[in-house]
């Protein structure tokens, strides 16, 4: 179970302390719920061990070895239990290759503030665990964990529990477990729906155990759903601690690199915008999803080189408040201005901070008569559905902006149904597919096929999973205005946009070609599919469409 307390904590030290102060200090609360006692500081270590164990169990030898004796021995001490299994199965293997990307991520993410003391401890516990295991033959003491430099020389005090060396438990037939896992999750969701919390509690624990027995994408996605269900059942916190937008952006950036979804969104939306701007001398893009502004360099470059020369290009970026003291919207604007300068495009930028898009008033945008406007929204509109009337207000504001084109990219799923069980089922299928695709993609093109994935792309993948995990948590565990991941399908959006006075603009063959080209360039891209649907483009994994780009204009 990859629970990364370090990562999910807020960037500022203050919020992190609050989380640590909750419930059982120092023990991972969710695993405690499931019957395991694991120090939060040991979490990364445990995750590593589970992965190692998984790998070892992957071959038949391991299973048959386990099948001889099956004694379940004190699993509540998860760390040593795993340790014992590992040492039983593979007395001669080298220690697992420590994926210290977590530590690096954690360290970088907290770069702004001071690393909390608990993080330093976990690093040293990390090193010590390995060294304290009986039998240096198993884990040669010379193996030094490569981790953040400050804590590498930590004290040698051992916080490790002595290994009782029990006989390991048998885990049989992970495929059968897989099916059982899905059923258990569904049953749990149903119990939640029926407010039978005692049953739900039971089921979520079972699901948790089954999840651990799985491998790869299934395990990861199931783990997130288990966690989300647990949060819902135990009402653990009114809402999960809010990540800073900077951190959210960071996660999205990794997601951007790992898989083609965001790039697809940008490529297709930009194609529509570029075509809408053909022949226009003054253009203005209003971006509801500014983030790091990654969508715009390519568009600007294409505008710079179009026949007749570039238009004057104005960009208004809307984003949430930064939380810290930096003005990140402005930084992004500055970088884009630099780029514009080098490619000879007259450029103007304005950033607007808004808690919600519904706060936007067109009057504030300084709309000019002779400008052609494009409004762009990538994964933003669905959040408005959390507050009644918000999406209508925003769409009416968009109409006042008189855009030549409105580009919308949204998840292709209905995660906004009234019935919890339906939402749960839908999102389970959706995110399973997404995690599947993540598992199969290497890095985004240019990687070594089949073999080792670079640490950088592994980090990307992990962060992408965290990014998606947060969405899962929101869909399952939150309600009311806190539940912002209210995805809806194209059909549903079409009907909303129709009622708001918009009509669809066909995206055209160029957009399709661009999308196809992108997929061809994507390593491990065999499973991705681009489909045209009534003039909109959908990107999916195998037979399941996952995101949709559509374009609209005022009727």
């Amino acid at each position: 179970m990859k629970r990364n307390h370090i990562i999910t904590s807020d960037v500022t030290g203050k919020a992190k302390k609050t989380m640590w102060d909750e419930e059982d200090a120092g023990v991972d609360e969710l695993l405690a719920v499931l019957g395991y006692k694991v120090k939060s500081s040991d979490m990364v270590d445990v995750a590593q061990k589970i992965e190692h164990l998984e790998g070892v169990l992957g071959n038949d030898d391991g299973l048959s070895l386990l099948a001889s004796d099956s004694v379940h021995y004190n699993p509540s001490d998860l760390s040593s239990w795993l340790e014992s299994m590992i040492s039983e199965l593979n007395p001669t293997t080298q220690p697992p290759i420590i994926d210290d990307s977590f530590m690096n991520i954690a360290n970088t993410a907290i770069a702004a503030g001071n690393p909390p003391p608990s993080e330093v401890d976990s690093t040293s516990a990390f090193v010590d665990d390995l060294q304290a295991i009986p039998g240096n033959a198993i884990y040669p003491p010379t193996k030094k964990v490569k981790s953040s430099s400050s804590s590498a020389g930590a004290s040698a005090s051992s916080s490790y529990n002595p290994n009782p060396n029990p006989n390991p438990v048998v885990i049989v037939d992970s495929q059968e477990n897989g099916i059982r896992l899905v059923h258990t999750l569904m049953a749990c969701a149903e119990a939640v729906q029926q407010e039978n919390l005692a049953l739900a509690e039971n089921l979520v624990k079972q699901a948790g155990m089954l999840a651990v027995s799985q491998a790869g994408a299934m395990r990861k996605v199931a783990t997130y759903f288990v966690e989300a269900l647990a949060r819902r059942i135990y009402r653990l916190s009114p809402k999960p601690p809010q990540d800073s937008p900077a951190f959210q952006d960071l996660l999205q950036m990794h997601f951007y690199e790992t898989c083609p979804y965001l790039k697809f969104a940008h490529f297709t939306a930009n194609q529509a915008i570029l075509e809408a701007f053909a022949g226009k001398k003054k253009v203005h893009v209003i971006d509801f999803s500014m983030k790091q502004g990654m969508q715009w360099p390519a568009l600007m470059q294409a505008l710079a080189l179009r026949p007749g020369g570039p238009p004057t290009f104005r960009l208004t970026g809307i984003g949430p408040p930064s939380g810290d003291n930096t003005d990140h919207l402005q930084e992004v604007g500055w970088k884009l201005a630099q780029l514009a300068d080098t490619i000879h495009v007259e450029f103007e930028y304005r950033g607007f901070v808004a808690e919600s898009l519904a706060d936007l008033e067109p009057a504030m945008l300084d709309l000019r008569e002779d400008e052609v406007v494009a409004v762009n929204s990538v994964f933003e509109l669905h959040q408005l559905l959390a507050r009644p009337g918000a999406v209508e207000k925003v769409l009416s504001a968009v109409k006042e902006m008189k855009p030549e084109i409105l580009t919308v990219v949204e998840q292709e799923a209905n995660h906004n149904g009234l019935v919890f069980l339906e939402r749960f089922t839908e999102s389970l299928h959706y995110y399973s597919t997404l995690f599947d695709s993540l598992e199969s993609s290497g890095n985004g093109g240019g990687g070594v096929d089949g073999g080792a994935i670079s640490p950088a792309s592994n980090q990307d993948k992990i962060m992408s999973e965290v990014y998606l995990g947060k969405q899962i948590c929101n869909v399952v565990a939150c309600e009311g205005p806190d539940r912002v991941e209210r995805h809806e399908t194209l059909t549903q959006w079409k009907s909303r946009l129709d009622s708001a006075g918009f009509e669809a603009v066909h995206l055209g063959s160029n957009a399709f070609k661009q999308a196809s080209m992108l997929l061809a360039l994507f390593a491990g891209g065999d499973g991705y599919r681009v489909e045209e649907n009534n003039g909109c483009l959908m990107l999916g994994w195998h037979t399941r469409s996952l995101i949709t780009t559509s374009a609209w204009k005022i009727r």
């Binding site: 080189l305 007259e346 901070v353 240019g446 070609k513 080209m517 360039l521």
Partner: protein, 449 residues
């Protein structure tokens, strides 16, 4: 609650450096990112405006760099831009860029593991369909421009002069154009030589699929040539020796050596080796030190071998460009700065949408794709410039023989049949075909020293 960003000055009009206008509280170095910002790196010199071939080239170069450094995001973004500014039916610069764009996509897609390239891109015509010519089609195709005719005319003139007095002429025709040069030569021999000789024609029957491709087998082609020669009262013996440029035509060389051993110097036979745009397919790595004739590369070895056959004449015509760099970006620049010529040419003599134009451009695209997207033994388009070939020949024991005034006049006459823009110049002993002043094809003639 709505706020304006606090440090924002009044709207900026970016005609000068934007950073000067920002309030000091913005620190450009303060970033949460742990890796470089994805996007376009600032170039050393600003890009030109649309349609400028220079700026197309720069974008292609940046894309190539991004691919070579595994910067997937940057390469994808540049490809997105290129898709928009280089349509396959635009002007000659755009079509040229489009050819390179396709090649870069092919190269980038190779480094991924996606095997769906063909299927995914079936919509955008990435797979280059080159035409298989019939003999008639090929004959008229090569006559369309001086590209090949130049080499034919110069070579035939030199051959005619060299074989005077011999009773047998043995021509080894290593030509990209499948003997298209030969009918004219036979005609000339029949007309000009007293007592026309017996002509033996040996071709390598190379098995590589290099455009232009023929839908005829060499055996069938041979029959046609023999019949044609007979109609001119010339006895033609036609031999095909299956041999590959990849190993420097070693089978052919072996056959020829055997012939020399068997027949020796008995007959009054002239041996002519006619190399027309074929030798650049023989593998040659970029030499670390230029022109070391001690190189044991197939190319150097091949030249040594033909020298050892003591030929009466060697004619070498090829394209004047350097595609041998191991560095992708260098190759790209070289290729871009040479292959604009055929795209420019085609506008002058073939209408848009004509089939021939499609074939012509498809063949160029094949070349581009080979230079850019292929590596190792698959990358066969390894052009070397005239100066390097001259050096090779000299180092192998050949002496250049120039082209006389009559020959030059003949070539000029041929050029007059074509559009303005074609030119002829002399570099040392050699003739060079030019288009708008740029070197296109060179022709050289050699005898053993």
């Amino acid at each position: 609650m709505m706020q304006f960003t606090e440090t924002l000055p009044p709207p900026l009009h970016q005609t000068t450096k934007p950073c000067q206008n920002f309030a000091t509280s913005v620190n450009p170095n303060q970033t949460h990112r742990t890796r470089p910002w994805p996007g376009f790196p600032a170039p050393n010199k600003p890009l030109g405006t649309f349609g400028d071939a220079n700026c197309m080239e720069q974008l292609l170069v940046r894309c190539a760099n991004a691919i070579e450094t595994n910067d997937a995001t940057l390469s994808q973004q540049i490809l997105w831009v290129l898709n928009n500014i280089a349509p396959s039916d635009g002007d000659s610069n755009q079509r040229l860029t489009c050819g390179f764009l396709r090649a870069l996509i092919a190269r980038a897609a190779k480094t991924g593991t996606c095997k769906m390239l063909t299927a995914a891109l079936s919509n955008s015509n990435i797979t280059i369909q080159t035409h298989k010519f019939s003999i008639i089609e090929l004959a008229s195709f090569v006559d369309l421009t001086p590209w090949h005719r130049f080499g034919f005319t110069a070579a035939n003139a030199a051959i005619l002069e060299a074989v005077e007095g011999y009773s047998t002429v043995h021509i080894i025709d290593l030509s990209l154009t499948h003997c298209m040069q030969i009918p004219t030569l036979i005609d000339a021999m029949a007309g000009k030589l007293e007592g026309p000789p017996v002509v033996k024609l040996t071709i390598a029957g190379a098995t590589e699929d290099v455009p232009p491709m023929l839908d005829l087998s060499y055996e069938e082609l041979g029959i046609k040539l023999v019949n044609f020669a007979r109609s001119r009262n010339i006895i033609l013996e036609f031999t095909v020796i299956p041999s590959s440029s990849l190993d420097g035509f070693s089978s052919l060389i072996e056959h020829l050596k055997l012939q020399t051993l068997v027949h020796g110097n008995e007959t009054n036979e002239a041996l002519v080796i006619n190399c027309h745009m074929m030798l650049h397919y023989i593998p040659e790595e970029t030499p670390t030190t230029p022109f070391s004739f001690e190189d044991a590369t197939p190319r150097a070895l091949f030249l040594k071998q033909i020298r050892s056959l003591n030929p009466t004449l060697v004619v070498l015509a090829d394209e004047d460009a350097d595609f041998t760099s191991t560095n992708l970006v260098c190759r790209l620049r070289s290729a871009f700065n040479y292959l604009w010529i055929p795209y420019d040419i085609v506008d002058t003599f073939l209408p848009k949408g004509s089939k021939q134009r499609q074939w012509y451009e498809a063949d160029i695209c094949w070349k581009i794709e080979n230079v850019i997207a292929q590596e190792g033994s698959h990358r066969v388009e390894r052009l070397e410039p005239r100066s390097r070939w001259v050096h090779r020949m000299r180092n192998t024991g050949f002496r250049g023989v120039g082209f006389g005034e009559d020959m030059v006049a003949e070539v000029k006459g041929m050029l007059d049949e074509h559009a303005a823009g074609w030119g002829l110049k002399k570099e040392e002993d050699d003739l060079v075909l030019t288009w708008k002043g740029h070197n296109v094809v060179f022709a050289t003639a050699w005898v053993p020293t």
